[in-house]
Symmetry: C2
Subunit: 337 residues, 2 copies
């Protein structure tokens, strides 16, 4: 019996489960609080409103250029909290592992989660591990949930886009989706494309401090890409939106891969990008604030909110035309997050 | 194309995802709050300490006698909060669905989740849905996370068992594990054995009110069964424990199946049972309080905490002998929750 492999017994709740928890998971994730071994973590009171979110991560492959399923699972949930203007505080981690998955691979993933959580300033406080028979899952799935504190009174949500708002993105689009696809297919792309996976809570805090009540919407364009996210917000807010194609920051290597493969970058997932909708009087200084942040040096204003048919999104193309932008239809790149 | 099937596109984040969310998931789960469509739910301030927990559910089959993966996923997380003495308030739901799973089966599961949440008095406030290709998961996995409020100052946790404590269980053991196994194997057992899956927060509230600071530990003996849970608590608290075999409430049909199959009921999972460790002066009235509750009519005192070798658990057998009780070793019944 290869002792590096995860066995069904590691999910039994019995002796092997306790070994895995006490020797690997708890030490690596740092959840060894006074509540270790109890059914739930007990947390100090959180003043103010709470933000609460959950996300499952099923990315294939679990190791990809620029990240792992572990860091991705931390970033994704931290970012969902940050997009509500919340300060992320606590994460839970639920692992579903396929029998036969390598313990050493699990260790790499857990270390990567811990590093990502430490960098983002959040604590992993509770978790669960299940093991399913070989063939009943694909390697490992991770669900993270998060609690954040909302310590301001601004209304930052998807239904609050207002005509005149500038739409700012903090950098290049599509890097995550293309990096994962390259990792999956073993594509040699000449130049390495890395996922943009990152925790955005430091950046959102800076934006909120700079723009204050002029900040109307924050959203991270993950699955479905920039196009789907913009369309969602246009529908939720009942506004029209115009995007300018030439303003979209794009990594040339990513553009190259997309055109070879016939993918539309507007639909490709990002994991370290946000869209900020800011009233025109604060747009320029918010853009400059974002550009000063390490995750925003290539930030750009990519569009404007307009009065008009609610939910209509138009792209002014590079060649001077106009085209309608819709949500992703079908599935361009499965298991990207 | 069979329109009853879940497609990869339903997990894309695009148009099909929105349809599934808006036409099925949000209406059935009742998450249609003002925050619908945002990355996280925004919740009113919760006074006092918080309890936070997560659990993944991978039970096979997803429909079993007495429940579904949906109600189980609600009960499991509600109970984990209740065992910390918390009042469960909010749940998140993360679905990982295998391509080709039936929408009508999903609907049954979601309805069952909603019913269970309503009965337990908790709100499902946020969620996520991923779809993986056929063969990359087995039908559906559900991770629920929960937030509860702790509104008392009692110390209720696994390290607080004290010599003299009576150990009370609220009813028969092993029903869940045997019901799921029967459902999986299509066993005709003559008499139908139902899972005990239930939300225990009403019962824990009654116990806390009755026993107050005499209540030292609450824990639900799920995976690994009563034996593993008792052993855990003995280790965490550094105490010895004696169990009395003849005091264990057992459904005769369950006992029959277990003896035919050679299973040890002490290791079989429960999903509607709790163990309460109560100081001797409050034990009898707490037992009576539990018996008055609909989920406690067969409650019994099954053991006692003693000074002695820390972590040692002894069973006084029906025939008058003594045997040591250890944690479940290996995996008796995989995918039971």
């Amino acid at each position: 019996m290869n002792s590096d492999l995860i066995l069904l017994g590691h999910g039994s709740g019995g002796r092997l489960s306790h070994q895995l928890l006490n020797e690997l998971i708890i030490p690596l994730l740092g959840t060894d609080s006074p509540d270790g071994g109890n059914d739930a973590a007990v947390l100090e009171p959180v003043p103010g409103r709470l933000a609460f979110t959950t996300d499952a991560f099923v990315v294939d492959p679990v190791f990809f250029p620029g990240g792992t399923i572990g860091s991705l699972a931390v970033h994704g949930t931290v970012n969902d909290l940050a997009m509500m203007g919340a300060r992320p505080l606590y994460l839970s981690v639920s692992l579903i592992i396929e029998e036969g998955f390598g313990k050493s691979d699990l260790e790499i993933i857990l270390r990567d989660m811990r590093r990502a959580a430490d960098l983002a300033g959040v604590r992993i406080v509770t978790g669960d591990t299940k093991v399913v028979p070989r063939g009943a899952a694909d390697k490992i799935f991770i669900t993270t949930s998060g609690i954040g504190a909302i310590n301001h009174e601004f209304m930052i949500h998807g239904a609050n886009a207002q005509p005149g708002d500038a739409i700012i993105i903090n950098g290049t689009i599509g890097d995550h989706g293309i990096a994962v696809m390259a990792g999956r297919e073993g594509l040699s792309l000449g130049t390495e494309i890395l996922s943009d996976s990152a925790a955005l809570n430091g950046l959102t805090e800076a934006i909120i401090n700079e723009a204050g009540h002029h900040l109307h919407v924050l959203r991270d364009p993950t699955r479905g890409g920039v196009a789907t996210t913009i369309k969602e917000i246009a529908l939720q807010s009942g506004v029209a939106i115009t995007l300018r194609e030439e303003a979209l920051p794009i990594n040339p290597a990513v553009r190259g891969v997309c055109s070879i493969l016939g993918l539309d970058l507007l639909f490709v997932a990002n994991e370290g990008k946000l869209l900020a909708f800011v009233a025109p009087e604060a747009a320029q200084r918010t853009l400059e604030c974002i550009r000063r942040h390490p995750l925003g040096s290539e930030a750009a204003i990519i569009g404007t909110v307009r009065e008009g048919e609610p939910g209509r999104v138009i792209m002014e193309t590079v060649v001077g035309g106009m085209r309608g932008v819709e949500m992703l239809s079908g599935e361009q790149l499965p298991r990207i997050c």
